[in-house]
């Protein structure tokens, strides 16, 4: 699942970059790259479900309700700049991913799965960095090193490099 998550994320990036290189602009009509990025998050959700061996939600801490509030708030913010459907889909998928990762982090000690903590932290870091990069790209558009979007994108690359390490730690119990 981890390989598929990274692979489909890479495919989405590759489509975007190739379109930009050959046609000098980002795709206008297409949601193909967005579809692949959402698929990447779906694979991460499937990874978490597979790690825990159960698709049922076992804990509902009040703090976890902040997650849907955050993702819905972000979706409303981005709907001012983009279309409604893709932002709704993104909010739903990210809510589920962050919710399951937070739940896994909270239940790790109780279920005797302390090794999986780093994996859940990495997934949550991915989600937070993604939102940060989307917000930065809404306000900063210049092509310079001072654009915080580049820094967020660099952090995202480091997070992807951490994934194999955190997954190996999680499966070696």
């Amino acid at each position: 699942m981890m390989f598929l998550a990274a692979f489909v994320y890479f495919l989405g990036d590759l489509y975007w970059q190739l379109y930009l290189i050959f046609f000098g602009e980002t795709p206008y009509y297409s949601h193909i790259p967005y579809l692949s990025w959402y698929a990447s998050y779906l694979f991460l959700i499937l990874l978490i479900v597979g790690m825990r061996g159960d698709s049922r939600i076992k804990v509902l801490h009040p703090l976890m309700l902040v997650i849907p509030l955050f993702t819905v708030g972000m979706a409303i913010f981005f709907m001012q700049r983009g279309d409604y459907i893709s932002n709704i889909i993104c909010a739903v998928i990210m809510s589920i991913l962050m919710f399951r990762a937070t739940e896994g982090l909270m239940m790790a000690k109780k279920e005797g799965l302390e090794n999986t903590r780093l994996l859940y932290i990495t997934i949550l870091a991915l989600c937070v960095t993604e939102y940060a990069s989307w917000v930065f790209s809404s306000f900063w558009t210049e092509d310079s090193i001072s654009n915080p979007y580049f820094w967020a994108d660099s952090v995202l690359s480091i997070i992807f490099l951490l994934f194999p390490f955190s997954l190996r730690k999680a499966v070696n119990r």
């Binding site: 190739l18 959700i45 499937l46």
Partner: protein, 215 residues
């Protein structure tokens, strides 16, 4: 005008006769072949409709709408077969590949009719490249059927995610082959390398499920 409907009728006629005289798996695979050709025909209508309604030109339709429409249209017969008939997973996966083969075959025939058959090298590259990309995309879906169909929770989410993989791969292929020269040739060759790469891992990817079916 290509008269693709007429081409469809001409190609499908002998296959329909074959279906009458065959039984079992042969009949099913012939049916999937026909459904693949029908998917190709319908995909052209749907892509054209969406592109026209969005005000997009032919290039944008090919790069941004066609991958999505074609992969979804290829998936519909297989999902219907799985949901209604509940077949063995290996049968459904073979059906997925046959739909892709039918799709690619019809697409290549329409290309021949529209562009002629004079350049053998160009046709070799285009023929194998286009066929392979459809088969590679079908392999992604077949992988989902093999590994995820048993679990209700996984089959939906995993199926969608693998469909996205197929759509994006197809989209990248369309971008590359739309370019002239070496880039276009590289675009046609990439699916061939992908399928060779997949062949090495096919046994590992599919064996576990085959063994589970045998138990």
């Amino acid at each position: 005008m290509n008269y693709i409907e007429n081409i469809f009728v001409c190609l499908v006629a002998p296959l329909l006769i074959t279906i009458v005289w065959t039984r079992g798996k042969t009949r099913r695979m012939m049916s999937f072949l026909i459904l693949g050709m029908l998917s190709c025909l319908l995909s052209s209508y749907v892509s054209t409709f969406i592109a026209t309604s969005q005000g997009a030109d032919q290039l944008a339709a090919s790069l941004e709408f066609a991958p999505f429409v074609e992969e979804v249209m290829k998936l519909i017969p297989v999902v219907f077969y799985l949901m209604v008939y509940g077949p063995e997973l290996s049968d459904a996966a073979d059906g997925t590949l046959m739909v892709a083969v039918g799709f690619a075959t019809f697409e290549n025939v329409c290309f021949l009719v529209g562009n002629g058959a004079d350049s053998i090298w160009h046709l070799l590259i285009r023929g194998f490249g286009t066929a392979t990309v459809h088969v590679v995309c079908a392999l992604f879906i077949a992988l989902g059927i093999y590994r995820l169909w048993d679990s209700e929770w996984l089959r939906f989410a995993g199926g969608l995610a693998l469909l996205a993989v197929a759509i994006t791969f197809h989209g990248i292929f369309n971008i590359l082959v739309s370019q002239p020269g070496v880039v276009g040739i590289i675009g046609y060759i990439i699916p061939l390398f992908t399928i060779l790469f997949t062949a090495f891992f096919a046994r590992h990817l599919f064996t576990q499920t085959i063994e589970r079916e045998r138990q």
